[in-house]
Symmetry: C2
Subunit: 186 residues, 2 copies
């Protein structure tokens, strides 16, 4: 079983190399102007290896572990709370945890995504998937229209906050913006 460890770590490393090379190139040359072949060359692999790790070019940017995390946080909160408050608190927890390390990276990536149509498309799809997960967590089973609406509204609030936060250096902190966004919802 030691073998698997070694292989997994090697794979994780090349995956990271590809992703780093890609984002660096995107920030310098722009997303559209950067070809997969260039990324692969910069990471020292062939274009096939790129596609084995990221089935599509945009996934190298949009693949992200946070969205599923939100659903877990929602499920972890007491079911007695009203749905929107539950979601709000869950998000607050999540973003507080983030605050300490990766906020700058997240912001840079958010900007890249928001400035690139091809990447934005994926993002909205992802938001929708997360909304369904959140709705399921809120309902504690298959959600009905009511829970889907609430989850969707909550995601919309979060998205509005993130968009403002990413677009303006002078704006408030992300946590505060999310708080304000949920306030507007009630």
């Amino acid at each position: 079983m030691l073998v698997n460890d070694w292989r997994e770590r090697k794979k994780a490393a090349t995956r990271q190399r590809i992703q780093d090379a890609a984002i660096e190139l995107f920030l310098v040359k722009g997303y559209e102007a950067t070809t997969v072949e260039e990324i692969a060359a910069a990471a020292g692999v062939s274009h096939m290896t790129f596609f084995r790790y990221f089935p599509a070019k945009d996934l190298v940017v949009t693949a992200d572990p946070y969205d599923p995390m939100i659903a877990e946080l929602v499920a972890a909160r007491p079911a007695e709370e009203p749905p929107l408050l539950r979601l709000r608190r869950a998000l607050a927890e999540g973003f507080t945890y983030l605050e300490e390390r990766e906020l700058a990276t997240v912001r840079a990536r958010a900007r890249l995504i928001l400035d690139t149509p091809a990447l934005r498309a994926q993002l909205w799809q992802q938001e929708r998937d997360t909304a369904e997960l959140v709705a399921t967590a809120l309902a504690g089973g298959v959600p009905d229209l009511r829970f889907r609406v609430l989850a969707g509204a909550g995601m919309a609030a979060m998205t509005a906050a993130v968009v403002q936060w990413a677009g303006d250096d002078e704006t408030a902190s992300l946590a505060e913006l999310i708080d304000r966004a949920f306030q507007a919802l009630t």
Copy 2:
């Protein structure tokens, strides 16, 4: 100026021919399995003409006049109403107008879009654009975070309703689902 009329009508006709041919092929063979060349051939044009009318393959399905219409309806309603009620009433008006003619077509197209990842991506982007238009209409100028959240939440409610309506033949009417969705929001 008579000339322009004639040319415009001819252009509108070929545009329609292309779109009809495309949607028919999509429904029969599926979106991915249908090539632009096939669509162009079925419509009796070259693939370049296709792209002149629809800059991207997916636009032949997702290009749609309803989303801008919503913003107009919102702006037309009295500004004294609370924002969410205003949006709700505006949507009610719009879908009542629709009811009389194209509902079946809209439903078929909605299903095609919801079943095709490549089309879904565009749809969410479009929803976002509409939300911005609605937010502007609600604010009567450049919207702040509050109006953006409300507009986004409203669009989320509408989307949830449309998704359920498109997915289930036995479900309630679209107007009623939208009404229920907005009820869940308050």
